[in-house]
């Protein structure tokens, strides 16, 4: 199967779980299925979704990136420093934050591809460094974009007037398309799958594995930067202490979406579905006002079932 075909297949499979969960809540609670709430679900998927999309390629290439959570916070702070403290125009500040994410990715890439450090360690270290730097740069205090209303509009504004449909969701859709195209139709995508599937063979086939790995981490980093912009735009402030734990949720979304942590297999659509499964569950359980301690239990069990169903079909498929 070509990556695309595989992707389409996984899409159908994984989506089944999503559909079932969605249908359940729609029947169970009248407040679930309405324009407003569905918009909320999509909206609450944006940040994790962006991180997950960016890290999908990294995981398919057989790597992992634990620094995306705190890295996101750092990029948010950078955006704040550029726009609020240094008074850069919003577009430039946004660009700067995204590029800074790319820089984080570059460092990760060099540590993994050149210094040959285990991705887990390299990015774990970066996770700590980013967390610290976010606090240092922000002097451990949130940076507020209150004087730059345009900034919040990146997330909560709405290009479609009166629709109340937040731009953030459009952004997510856009980056999903970009990620999908990159992974399914470009040489980079092919190499990503090849490296994750058998790095030695790929290298002996005359592919500059080292260079491509770095590129993959850099791209992941750019997504981290974007996620930093999206979350700070949503909150109207750069929160230096948030982010820890986001990496786990993002990776979970990727894996729930059928991407294998051992590399070589995975798809963007799967990741989107994985991210949606998580946020639909969170939203639905809260809408039904399930006691919070039970929400965790149910979340765990349902994810287990969803992935199991997915796998069972794959095997029969």
């Amino acid at each position: 199967m070509t990556p695309t075909v595989r992707g389409r297949l996984q899409q159908l499979l994984a989506s089944a779980g999503l559909v079932v969960i969605f249908a359940f809540f729609a029947i169970a609670d009248s407040n679930f299925l309405n324009y407003g709430n569905v918009t909320n679900i999509l909206f609450s998927t944006v940040v994790i979704g962006t991180l997950a999309l960016g890290t999908t390629a990294v995981i398919i290439a057989g790597g992992i990136d634990l620094s995306i959570g705190t890295g996101m916070a750092l990029c948010a702070v950078v955006s704040g420093v550029l726009i609020v403290n240094s008074g850069l125009p919003v577009p430039l500040g946004v660009l700067g934050a995204i590029l800074f994410g790319g820089l984080i990715g570059l460092v990760n890439g060099l540590n993994v591809a050149v210094l040959k450090l285990p991705p887990f360690i390299a990015t774990l270290a970066m996770m700590m460094v980013a967390q610290g730097l976010a606090l240092v740069l922000s002097h451990s205090a949130p940076i507020y974009f209150s004087d730059h209303p345009g900034y919040s509009d990146i997330s909560i504004g709405s290009l479609i007037p009166g629709s109340g449909f937040p731009n953030a969701v459009l952004v997510l859709a856009l980056v999903a398309v970009v990620a999908g195209v990159l992974l399914n139709t470009t040489v980079l995508g092919r190499y990503t799958y090849a490296i994750g599937s058998n790095e030695d063979a790929t290298a002996l086939s005359g592919i500059a594995v080292r260079r491509w790995k770095i590129v993959i981490y850099v791209i992941g980093g750019l997504f981290t930067g974007l996620a930093g912009v999206m979350i700070s735009a949503r909150l109207g402030s750069a929160q230096p202490a948030t982010g820890l734990g986001y990496e786990l949720q993002a990776i979970a979304a990727v894996v729930i979406g059928g991407t294998s942590l051992s590399g070589g297999k995975g798809s963007i659509i799967g990741t989107l579905i994985g991210a949606l499964i998580i946020s639909v569950l969170n939203n639905g359980l809260q809408i039904m006002s399930i006691p919070q301690e039970w929400q965790n239990v149910i979340l765990g069990v349902v994810i287990l079932l969803a992935v199991y169903a997915d796998q069972a079909r794959k095997r029969t498929a």
Partner: protein, 545 residues
Amino acid sequence: MTPPLLEVRGVRKEFPGVVALDEMHLDLNAGEVLAVVGENGAGKSTLMKILSGIYQPDAGEVRIDGEEVRVGDPKHALELGISIIHQEFNLIPDLTVAQNVFVGREPRRAGLFLDHGALVAMTRELLDRLHLPLDPNAQVGRLTVAQQQMVEIVKALSQDARVLIMDEPTAALNDAEVEVLHGLIRRFRAGGAGALGRAPSSAPDGNTAGGAGALGRAPSSAPDGNTDSGTGVIYISHRLEELKAISDRITVIRDGRFVDTLTTAEASLADVITRMVGRELPPAGAAATPEVPATGRPVLSVRGLSTKALLRDVGFDLHEGEILGFAGLMGAGRTEVARAVVGADPTTSGTIELHGRTVRIPDPATAARLGIGYLSEDRKQLGLIVEQTVAENIALSSLARSFQTAGFVRRRSIASRAASAIQDLRIKTPSLGALVRNLSGGNQQKVVIAKWLVRDCEVLIFDEPTRGIDVGAKEEIYRLVRELAARGKAIIVISSELPEVLRLSHRVVVMSEGRVTGRLEAEDATQESIMHLATLRRSPEAGSP
């Protein structure tokens, strides 16, 4: 009249899009070596996987001593006394030779604790008895293909089986090693694994418990009674000439069907081949190697190449349109030369000149960019991405060069190019989209070759290019290699099959212990002259230059 040791009756096995076996018959008598031959993709390995419990047949039955058995899983196969050497190795890279040989049958203390001393002692004893130069404590992942093949053989022999299945055990071995193996097989056929030796009396008390257990009789394995009724060997090989030497009878299969069973003594190779391919083949070695064009200037010259591990001061010239053969015993360093040249392994010294210009080659990517391609001897680990499709594998090396516009992959041109490559090499695959994992061993090998043909390098290094490839296809590949040379490509052929080296090469470089011990022109190159140079040992005083 006692029933055959092993019988296969009307076995059928279907895979999505392929009927691998249909109406398959086979019987193996006690005390005989039965050769099974057939073209790549004929169904040999599939049949063996059924016998060893990896696949379940869709129809038909298997009998042992006349009794029908259902081989549930590999463990069950071992219990029935069937042990197999798979075509694709099944070794555990992070464990040592000793640990691999006895995995699942470790000598224990108090049931739970490992007896490391006994394990090593038993393995060493075994290796000595088999005259195999392997270190029991060597990590298997670091061994060469040939050495890994040896470990597989030792492991299988040590399992004290009644039916020993060998799926192309000699594909990666050279004649000397093949000889050793044949010796082993004869002794095995004669008296079963027991004949390979009793438990080392020297061994610590800890393990004398399992007397032959020293040779790994699994606690669960067949009762002693079995060995009385003798043992048999099923031997799969594409090196037809060796069948004469080792087999008693030859079963030929074609397209998953039983064709015929011949008595080796009465059959000629021609008979076998005709039945295999279903048509006459031109007599082997017909087309002679064309002369090197007079213009032949050196394309690649290597000087003073040394590596930390093995190589010492290796040098050679490769000319335009030349086929340069590399011969040597296992571990001689041929693969390392190739790996060093393409930058896969670090070198400690040496220069590489391309068209007279000195070049630095830090990695295979650079090598490929400079037009040097290396086809690894280890197709599964280093040659293929088995989880991807035939088309993806064939295109991999050439994506950036031939199959992209502005970074976007051109699927159609890949499809057409791959399709033609599949035709040229007669690769047997259900479709372009089939996973390489599901191809037969020989067809996988062809995919590796196709990948490099598509890449169209100026210098091509083939390491064991015909490993596991059937006679017909071999001739095809020889033809291709000669064509490439005729088109001015410079080609290195590393092969453990001397006949192959002799038939293809304009000149032969012979290596031993990481040094070049001789360079022979085609006319001076003979089995004898090569083996002489290949076995030259370093004299004590002659240290490294």
